[in-house]
């Protein structure tokens, strides 16, 4: 296990965990939500606004950054932290997911994933060694092994191929990884096949990575299908290490993840929905283009301490979106990130106080959902 990225398990409540992750750029209280900064920016927000919203660790996308502006340029500029001026911890993904979700054509074999850039169509390849080299150039606090992440509905046969390749690539990533100030996490694949996930987790655990992720969720399966596998899948991961559920998700999915024993989450929803005029609130989502907000002097949430809620009415936000003003997406993204960060703070208190199940049931009821 890496020396620098130490995880403390502070308390549990059922399977839910309360922990602390130490990184070279500071300590993160878990469970934690990581806003996504795909292209070296969490869309629409300055680092100061991001910090003000309560974000403590963010995610960067290896695939995007390697294509533009290039990982060597970022290295030469002093690394991703300095380039984008985010002084807190950064986790970078490995690009495996984006090869499937973004690249228009691809060919994957044991040697590499070869694909066309979605920016200029040029032919590129991602090997485990290259994925590690990119992330070492970026200088993230936590790097991820290159994995193969097929979509939901992939045949059982191919799922086995993908798991075998993910294991092969994890070993090669581990071998290639040099940076001592960066933790390399492994990714467990296997879709909704628990036996396959168990084998994958077992082999990866034997390699003693400093952290483990569940990949292959939020790739097209229903929330029910995810819920059925999530608990058992999380149980397969070593108890003493941080557990990260990649690309998840909606507030209710995050609560399901915490209930399953997950420590870390990331998702584009708070910023993407913010740009699309949808606000997260404790009473469920608000669509800010709706006419009902036109004359409403109330903030999005009366008890939210974010900059947006401290200053602006729903009427003003409604106006900004109707007038297509960029301040609307910025203010709503800021609030949505703050909403997720406050949700996680409440989650952490609930786990500490042994009332997470109650907190989750209450939250779902307030959002008009059932567990």
């Amino acid at each position: 296990m890496s020396m620098f990225s130490r995880f403390e398990l502070l308390a549990t409540d059922g399977a839910a965990r309360r922990g602390r992750l130490h990184t070279p750029h500071g300590t993160v209280e878990t469970p934690v939500f990581m806003p996504v900064g795909t292209q070296a920016t969490v869309k629409g927000l300055t680092p100061a606004q991001l910090e003000d919203a309560g974000a403590r660790i963010i995610l960067g996308n290896t695939y995007h950054l390697a294509l533009r502006p290039g990982d060597e340029l970022i290295r030469d500029m002093g690394g991703l932290h300095r380039f984008m001026r985010w002084d807190g911890p950064i986790l970078t993904d490995s690009g495996g997911y984006q090869v499937y979700s973004l690249a228009p054509t691809r060919k994957i074999d044991d040697r590499a994933a070869v694909f066309r850039s979605h920016i200029d169509g040029s032919l590129l390849e991602l090997t485990p060694e290259r994925a590690v080299a990119i992330q070492e150039n970026l200088g993230s606090d936590i790097a991820m092994c290159l994995d193969e992440c097929p979509p939901f509905g992939t045949s059982a046969d191919y799922l086995r191929v993908a798991v075998r390749r993910t294991l092969l690539w994890a070993r090669r990533c581990r071998e290639a990884h040099r940076r001592k100030d960066q933790a390399l996490f492994a990714i467990v694949q296997g879709g909704t096949d628990l036996e396959l996930r168990a084998r994958c987790a077992e082999e990866l655990t034997a390699l003693d990575f400093p952290g483990y992720a569940l990949g292959g969720f939020s790739v097209g399966e229903t929330p029910e299908q995810m819920a059925a596998v999530l608990g058992p899948a999380a149980e397969l991961l070593p108890r003493a290490k941080p557990r990260y559920l990649m690309g998840v998700g909606r507030p209710e999915d995050v609560l399901a993840g915490v209930a399953a024993g997950i420590d870390m989450f990331d998702c584009v929803l708070p910023t993407r929905n913010g740009r699309n005029a949808s606000a997260f609130t404790a009473e469920g989502p608000l669509r800010m283009r709706n006419a009902c907000h036109k004359r409403d002097p109330a903030p999005l949430e009366s008890d939210c301490p974010c900059y947006t809620c401290r200053h602006f009415s729903r009427a003003y936000l409604h106006h900004l979106f109707l007038a297509k003003e960029m301040l609307g997406p910025t203010l709503l993204s800021l609030h949505n990130v703050a909403f997720y960060c406050r949700l996680m703070a409440s989650v952490r208190r609930a786990v500490e106080e042994g009332r997470f199940a109650e907190f989750r049931a209450l939250s779902l009821a307030r959002w008009g959902l059932s567990a």
Copy 2:
């Protein structure tokens, strides 16, 4: 003269003036530049960012706000200051300029300007009384009389018609204006015809408005044509009242305005150019999409104290614009507003110290221009 909006002339340097404008929302040091907040937002910037950039007074557009979200809605939400959460002074224009520049069709006679909305094509009319009522609903600190502002190249005959109508409307605006916490400024028209401007200024001065604007500049004439008339036109305005040059302009035009004895300026350039990747600097403009910035670790300006320059490299800004990230327009707009505000602070010191002509010549030389 209104009691609330008092102007102090502190010092002069040739025709250049150093003053202080007291408003219900605070005192403004002049010469001053007002960023434009057309739709109740200075595009891309929060009020906090705007204040951090050094802005002390901003402009709102009567035409846009009356169409959307509506001046009565803004009144019901507590006025424009509260609606957009800008606690400093606000000046609103009268909409006369926008009727010419934006409305797809229009018919103007002594009674009203009738035009189609550029938003939904509905038929609307602006009378002097309505322009005052809108601005009273908005609750700006400084309101402007409705004027007729024909483009450059208008016939001498029509220019006389426009001046006659501008005078007629100024009287009707003055008659209609009720708010004691709002100053109503008059606008002198007359194009490049100095005799016409003199008559217009004389008649308006007799009405003793608390402030005077020069309209009809930056409407298609060349900078040389403006320069030839600006000095004599400004001299026609009462010395004891603030003088506002509407819609001007580039940094060199602002310096020409100060040299002519102007106290107040507004222009969309800092934010519009910021959105289009063009940065103002003391060495002239930088086009941030240019490849020369790709690996430049320097800030836009090494001695600029704005948030953008304190934190980000040219390489990062270049990346944001290439990646079409909205943070690029935000950070560049912020810097450009800060550039204008710092320029005005330097102007004020130069006038105080009796070296404005020298300062102006030096600035133009640094920007690669001649006076």
